[in-house]
């Protein structure tokens, strides 16, 4: 059952609109998601989604590139775009009195982008610049390589693109991708903040209601291989990334493993932070989390440390992964529960993060969870349930990436599949 302040509507063309009113705020936010993420690019064209997104913001309908940006800025809208595995998304926040006008601008962007061919090379350079700058970001290179290795060439592709593939994307490919993937079929529009639902829905119907859907393309997935990969870099630190397969968000057991991974590597009392940084002083940065896609997911961990201490760091992380199977303790679970509750309340102060969370829930779960539902789920989590799950499902580290001056020795049990 949706809460009193939650709303949803599906138009006949497929568009799903989700709303959550937060009348204590003066602002409102939107998150628009189109099924135009990197996974839908033809193989060999990684960068098509990012370049299409960049081109989509270079003018639409009566606005040229500059007029569009200035129109949003004059309305005081703070906006962003994002290309992910499944979606290209646009988000924005503004004072409530300008909200409908900002939505109107984004309706034009999503339906009538000019995709100006004379700006293609500038747009391509913007995307290439992003990739060039990432070459100097070694933690990101580590996580990027890990992702590609674990999820494989369809889902694991880095959504910002691949240098040589981005260079060859043509204007016609961008036009076709925009026509096929920017469609009400599979589109999610989430709004949160201070607005009147009926008034907004009427406006949204006038903006997107008559838009005809194009037929959606399916997704053929090639899985990843795993293994150990070392990238040589003349750097002070060695960067370590590792991944182990787990259940994706949306499956019943997800919360059990999410909780265990929180104990392992989320927060300053987490086992990795305590064992690697606090007790041994091996590094500044160490953490673990879950990276979930629709049908697959992995537990990931990262640390960066000077070369001489990298082996000890990797060995300690691997040992903590192994020790997790022995179970977690009551006090650890209690801490994780409060962290989740605080995170939920933090969303109540930011309509932007709430709009993003609603859109994400819909995509992964086909519904929007209420705070009460999540709290109930938390209350049902017990140490015996988490520990039973951990005992029944051993965590096996199947992917390891290091970036630095020398490769490392594989600890026992790592990448042994």
């Amino acid at each position: 059952m949706p809460a009193d302040n939650q709303f949803q509507h599906r138009f006949s063309n497929g568009l799903v609109v989700l709303g959550e009113t937060m009348p204590w705020l003066n602002t409102a936010a939107f998150s628009i998601q189109f099924p135009a993420g990197s996974a839908y690019q033809p193989l060999g064209q990684n960068g098509l989604a990012a370049l299409t997104c960049e081109m989509s913001e270079r003018g639409c309908a009566e606005y040229n590139n500059r007029q569009f940006l200035e129109a949003t800025e004059l309305l005081g809208a703070s906006t962003a775009n994002h290309v992910g595995t499944y979606h290209t998304g646009y988000s924005g926040t503004c004072l409530q009195e300008h909200f409908l006008s900002v939505l109107e601008l984004y309706a034009k962007l999503s339906r009538e982008a000019r995709l100006p061919s004379d700006e293609l090379e500038a747009a391509r350079m913007v995307c290439l610049q992003e990739l060039y700058s990432q070459q100097d970001d070694l933690p990101q290179q580590t996580l990027r390589t890990l992702r590609e290795q674990f999820f494989g060439p369809t889902l694991g592709r880095w959504p910002d693109g691949e240098l040589d593939e981005l260079e060859s994307v043509s204007w016609a490919q961008i036009r076709d991708f925009y026509r096929e993937r920017f469609s009400p079929q599979g589109m999610i529009l989430a709004i949160a903040g201070n607005f009147n639902w009926n008034e907004c829905l009427t406006k949204i119907e006038s903006l997107w209601g008559d838009w005809q859907a194009t037929s959606a393309l399916g997704l053929a997935v090639t899985p990843g291989q795993g293994g150990y990969q070392h990238l040589e870099e003349d750097s002070q630190q060695t960067h370590i990334g590792l991944a182990a397969s787990t259940v994706p968000f949306g499956q019943e057991d997800y919360f059990l493993i999410r909780c265990a991974v929180g104990v392992l590597g989320d927060g300053m009392s987490s086992r990795l932070f305590q064992e690697v940084r606090e007790k041994r002083g091996l590094c500044y940065s160490v953490f673990a989390g879950i990276h979930s896609l629709l049908d697959s997911a992995c537990i990931t961990a990262y640390s960066g440390t000077t070369a001489a201490r990298a082996q000890e760091t990797l060995d300690t992380i691997a040992a903590e992964f192994a020790r997790l199977q022995e179970g977690i303790h009551e006090d650890e679970l209690r801490r994780i529960k409060v962290q989740v509750r605080t995170g939920l309340m933090a969303q109540q102060e930011s309509c932007r993060s709430r709009a993003g969370a609603i859109a994400s829930d819909w995509f992964y779960l086909h519904r929007v969870r209420t705070r009460e539902e999540i709290n109930e789920q938390l209350n049902r989590l017990t140490v015996p349930r988490v520990n039973q799950y951990l005992a029944d499902h051993p965590i096996e580290i199947s992917s390891l990436v290091t970036v630095g001056s020398t490769p490392l020795e594989l600890p026992h049990g790592v990448c042994q599949l």
Binding site: E130, D136, M268, G281, L282, T342
Partner: protein
């Protein structure tokens, strides 16, 4: 919303912005202690001390501090800058008393030898980490070059040598001097139980030792004018940093200066953006205005392919000159005001942002302006004000540092 300020008997200032509609409570200790307060031998001590405040007190071990922070669900962190150190945490309102007690306890760390030497390794790792990250220590180098012997030229993290040479005794002496209640502000925003807060803080801080904080030494600025190149063979991009004088935190022209910097070099919609970023010539081209107690700087940062560096730099300098010859228009000023005002209004809704706002204002000015008052100050800026501030601070006397794989083209 209700703002209130209090001064305890021990000299500690407490500022509160209570909004019962908020869902969280944000708490922060603001300490007037930063790199500019350090002698050369103590370089890095403020930042190292910030780490040590998490490493144990007479009441708690490091593990107990970390566990309790996580137990309170605290979104907690700390940061050290040139002039201040800030410790902050955001919690559910029901944990207000516990988090205030914990943060207050952390302000009086044990500084045990064992923890000191373990944490020293973490700091050295942090220094190594930043040396691997763009701009590869360039920020510290240009601050040192620009400010010379002025205290703002000191690196916040210190150096490998200065951190390795620090001792627990020297740190304890520094702590006694700077972490005196009269040198600190406690800032609390969001949903706040104010009477409980005041009663709590009185008790939690009553045994804090008092010291007369030493006045800050402000030597004359060197304001070096020159060019340097830092060669990083493994860098794939070239980075250019530039420092030029700007108004200080006390200067009434600072609102006009912030708007002028936005018009010239905001990361979207500015003159630099349209010429260099939207065209794909540079990955980054932006100017920020940084304000300190005694001075201010306009810091420009550019990033691009090394082979494009000369061209991008010459376009950047041409735009700087053009900014003086073709001053901002009404349209540009209107856009900059819309952005500045919208960003203030949205940030205002988050308890943590309110806590930072009132705490920083109180530490810097000893007074508080509401968001509406600050918005009004932006609204009142005229084209004449912008013209005046660009003539006062024309970005002509500048220190430049380029960082990249090869200096030949530079």
């Amino acid at each position: 919303m209700a703002f209130a300020n209090f001064k305890l008997n021990n000299g500690l200032h407490v500022v509160v912005d209570n909004n019962p509609q908020c869902h969280l409570t944000a708490v922060g200790y603001f300490v007037r202690a930063g790199a500019c307060d350090e002698s050369a031998e103590l370089s890095g001590v403020s930042h190292f001390l910030e780490h040590m405040c998490f490493k144990g007190t007479p009441q708690r071990s490091a593990l107990e501090i970390n566990q309790q922070l996580d137990e309170l669900g605290a979104n907690c962190n700390a940061r050290t800058g040139e002039e201040n150190t800030i410790y902050h945490a955001t919690v559910l309102p029901e944990f207000q008393s516990q988090i205030v007690e914990l943060l207050s306890d952390m302000m009086q760390p044990s500084l045990s030898e064992e923890d000191f030497f373990t944490e020293q390794k973490v700091i050295l790792e942090e220094i190594a980490m930043y040396r691997d990250q763009p701009p590869y220590g360039g920020h510290e180098q240009i601050m040192r070059a620009y400010f010379g012997d002025h205290p703002l030229g000191q690196p916040v993290l210190g150096t490998d040598a200065s951190v390795a040479a620090l001792t627990p005794a020297a740190m304890a002496a520094y702590h006694r001097q700077r972490y005196s209640p009269g040198n600190m502000v406690l800032s609390v925003a969001g949903r706040v139980d104010v009477p409980k807060l005041l009663a709590d803080v009185e008790i939690f801080t009553k045994n804090w030792p008092q010291a007369m904080p030493q006045a800050r030494r402000f030597s004359l600025e060197a304001k070096a004018i020159g060019r340097e190149f830092l060669q990083i063979p493994q860098a794939n991009q070239q980075y250019i940093l530039q420092l030029a004088p700007g108004p200080s935190a006390m200067d009434p022209d600072r609102y006009a200066a912030r708007l002028a910097a936005m018009i010239f070099g905001d990361d979207t919609g500015s003159r630099l953006f349209w010429r260099l970023v939207d065209s794909g010539k540079a990955d980054l081209a932006a100017v920020g205005h940084y304000e300190y107690d005694s001075t201010g700087v306009l810091m420009s940062m550019l990033a691009m392919r090394p082979e494009d560096a000369a061209e991008v730099w010459s376009e950047f300098e041409a735009l700087e000159n053009q900014f003086l010859q073709q001053p901002p228009t009404e349209h540009e000023l209107k856009l900059a005001k819309a952005k500045a005002i919208a960003s203030l209004s949205s940030a205002n809704e988050i308890s943590e942002n309110r806590m930072f706002d009132i705490g920083s204002q109180w530490l810097t000015y000893g007074c508080y302006l509401t968001v509406e008052q600050v918005v009004e100050l932006y609204r009142r800026v005229t084209l004449q004000d912008i013209l005046k501030v660009t003539q006062r601070f024309p970005m002509q006397q500048k220190q430049v540092l380029a960082i990249g794989p090869d200096g030949a083209a530079w």
